[in-house]
């Protein structure tokens, strides 16, 4: 009976676990981001890219400069001179200086805060999005994106990636041609391989920004689980000892 009970629980758990990927894979057909937030150098490179190319428009309103320093292994001076270009104080959060009204005029919408973007959209989405900009003269700012069609955002990293153009397939009658693939028409400062690495770092930085606790969560978790496993074993021995009475009384 016990065996059957255990196997039925295992089956139920298996069913539950089997359904996890169904919800987890929000964006289908996306290349895996392959980020590693435990790689501090990657986070530092990502932060550098963020503060050079993104913070002009996007805030990280839940992230403080001081927290960045301690989590990314940087000194206050390094953060204040290399990352903080807005004149904010060390303990203040990362707020973009772009006026909201101007943003609406220029892009048609207010650039969203990116503090939780990695948790809301997933890291794969961000990584693929950053790699999928292409020139599209029909769009107001001249850019389009295959991962997020008709995005209002131009490619901020074009000088690194170069200019991508779309190769369209045959258009079905009465429909617009589908983008088959993207190709670099004008090379940028980075090779395609280097650019993928750079966007991976940037994605990792946003993943960290979305949940700074993730840095310590797992390393604490290992000890907690080891402790609980040991405790469970001791409790089992305790139970075994007490239950000798019960088994004798048969």
């Amino acid at each position: 009976m016990i065996k059957r009970t255990i196997s039925s629980i295992a089956l139920a758990l298996g069913l539950a676990v089997a359904t996890i990927p169904a919800l987890a894979s929000e964006g289908e057909g996306l290349a895996p981001a392959g980020t590693n937030i435990r790689d501090q150098a990657s986070l530092q490179r990502g932060a550098k890219l963020f503060f050079n190319y993104c913070v002009g428009c996007h805030s990280l309103k839940y992230v403080r400069y001081s927290r960045l320093a301690s989590d990314l292994g940087l000194s206050e001076e390094e953060v204040m001179t290399n990352l903080n270009f807005t004149g904010a104080k060390f303990g203040e959060p990362v707020i973009s200086h772009m006026p909201a009204d101007d943003a609406k005029t220029w892009f048609g919408k207010d650039p969203p805060d990116l503090s939780l973007e990695a948790r809301a959209k997933g890291v794969d989405f961000i990584f693929n999005y950053l790699n999928s900009f292409y020139l599209d003269p029909t769009r107001p700012v001249g850019w389009n994106n295959t991962v997020f069609p008709n995005a209002s955002m131009p490619n901020p990293l074009w000088e690194l990636q170069g200019l991508q153009t779309a190769v369209h397939g045959e258009a079905a009658p009465g429909q617009e041609a589908v983008v088959e693939k993207l190709q670099i028409s004008t090379p940028g400062r980075m090779s395609p391989e280097e650019f993928r690495g750079a966007t991976r770092d940037l994605t990792a930085f946003l993943e960290y920004a979305a949940e700074p606790a993730a840095l310590e969560r797992q390393s604490i978790g290992v000890w907690v689980i080891l402790f609980l496993a040991g405790l469970t074993f001791l409790l089992y021995l305790l139970k075994h000892e007490y239950w000798k009475d019960v088994h004798e009384s048969h």
Partner: protein, 433 residues
């Protein structure tokens, strides 16, 4: 030192002479059948999770801001700036999901071993009331972070009351205190979530246990130990097949607690969102009444009932049938002691028909969960390219609704008209370990 303790004990005893006998009645002299198996851990685990929810909840309220403008920010403040805030919040959010895991398993145990049957109907009814209050508690708690799924989930669920004829529209406004889920809704849900419903829940749990201790626990054999031979090594008048709850079941339950906490810790530290099942992606975006999430769905533990709601079509110009079906699904469970008229309690000695029906119930409940969570809508186009998703999903979902309600109809007919061929029930409990 021991002398001090015994003097304190005497002092208390003199002033409250019934305290020690009450403790003995419910612990050291509460005799429970000795053959409890794995399924008997989930009651004490539910109590453990309840305590976890209350304690972590108290700490969360210390930094949470009850306001539509500040709620979302305050949750992120807890996650980032409050010392250990992330751990407390994950313990609370994981606890909410695990509460339903253990409660579902606890309820299944009751159905499987016939624990709801005479003389334990009151225990079962009180348990079903706990389940109902727990669902209200979880729903309101889910609204508090004020993410976009909080907002839209609240809007959809509260709108259900709008299907009630005549008063529906005004009822919805009365519940929300506004025309949309808004600041007023958030404030009243906070009040209900942190004080009103927990008080009701605690009271019901006390009554649930008190009612249980009046009649005594059932066991996997469904045998009445009270009617068997008397006299065990602890007490000559108590049933031979029963053992004192304390210390034997307290130490055994502690092993369950250890296992459970290890699994819970794994989720809390390594997969706190559980792939979007325990904390949804869309709830990391603040509430916005202008942006609808692509799939509005409730938390996973509501999805079977939500699927019943969605799968029952509206006719005679009203959608109330789905709402009736959803609440009916819970009501039928509560009425199980009067639907299942079989004399034999445990599935071990019941007829094949009951075993199959129980399997159908579990399968359709899990399948409805997948339908309600939108998994079938994702899987159908993958497995059957070119199939019409809505048609297939409705066909499958409605079949599962039939399976769920079919269980109750079948079991009533099966036991009321004597179709069940049971096996002989042993005189005494059988030990399997």
């Amino acid at each position: 030192m021991a002398n001090v303790f015994s003097r304190i004990g005497d002092w208390v005893n003199e002033r409250a002479p019934n305290l020690a006998p009450t403790y003995r009645k419910h612990m050291t002299e509460y005799f429970a059948p000795k053959n409890f198996n794995l399924w008997y851990y989930f009651g004490s685990l539910a109590l453990l999770v309840l305590v976890n929810q209350i304690v972590t909840g108290i700490f969360l309220t210390m930094n949470y801001k009850t306001s539509a403008l500040e709620a979302f920010n305050s949750v992120e403040y807890i996650m980032r700036d409050v010392e250990w805030g992330w751990l407390i919040r994950y313990m609370h959010s994981t606890g909410a999901s695990l509460f339903f895991v253990v409660v579902f398993l606890h309820m299944f145990r009751g159905i499987m071993y016939g624990s709801f049957k005479r003389p334990r109907e009151l225990v079962w009814i009180l348990g079903m009331l706990i389940f109902l209050v727990l669902m209200a508690e979880a729903f309101m708690g889910y609204v508090l972070p004020w993410g976009n799924m909080s907002f839209w989930g609240a809007k959809v669920i509260i709108s259900l009351f709008g299907t009630i004829p005549y008063i529906g529209g005004s009822l919805v406004e009365w519940i929300m205190g506004d025309f949309l889920p808004a600041d007023a809704t958030l404030n009243r849900f906070f009040a209900l979530h942190v004080i009103a419903l927990p008080l009701v829940l605690l009271l019901l749990v006390v009554l649930h246990l008190a009612a249980l201790h009046e009649v005594g626990s059932n066991n996997p054999d469904g045998v009445d130990v009270k009617h068997g031979p008397k006299g065990n090594k602890w007490n000559p008048e108590k049933p031979i097949d029963a053992i004192p709850f304390h210390p034997y079941y307290t130490v055994k339950d502690l092993v369950g607690v250890g296992f459970f906490l290890t699994i819970a810790a794994f989720i809390i530290f390594f997969a706190p969102t559980f792939g979007g099942w325990f904390l949804e992606h869309d709830n990391f975006t603040p509430a916005n009444n202008l942006v609808t999430p692509s799939h509005i769905k409730p938390s996973w533990y509501f999805t079977p009932f939500y699927a019943i709601l969605r799968m029952i079509p509206s006719f005679f110009g009203t959608a109330i049938w789905g709402v009736i079906g959803m609440f009916g699904a819970i009501l039928l469970l509560a009425l199980l002691p009067w639907i299942d008229k079989g004399e034999v309690r445990s599935v071990r000695y019941r007829g094949l028909g009951f075993r199959i029906a129980l399997g159908v119930l579990v399968f359709s409940f899990l399948a409805l969960g997948l339908v309600g969570a939108g998994v079938t809508a994702e899987v159908i186009p993958e497995w059957f390219p070119g199939a019409d998703v809505t048609t297939w999903e409705n066909a499958f979902g409605r079949l599962m609704v039939l399976g769920y309600f079919g269980f109750f109809v079948f079991v009533w007919v099966y036991t009321r008209f004597g179709f069940e061929k049971t096996k002989p029930v042993p005189e005494r409990v059988t030990m399997h370990d």
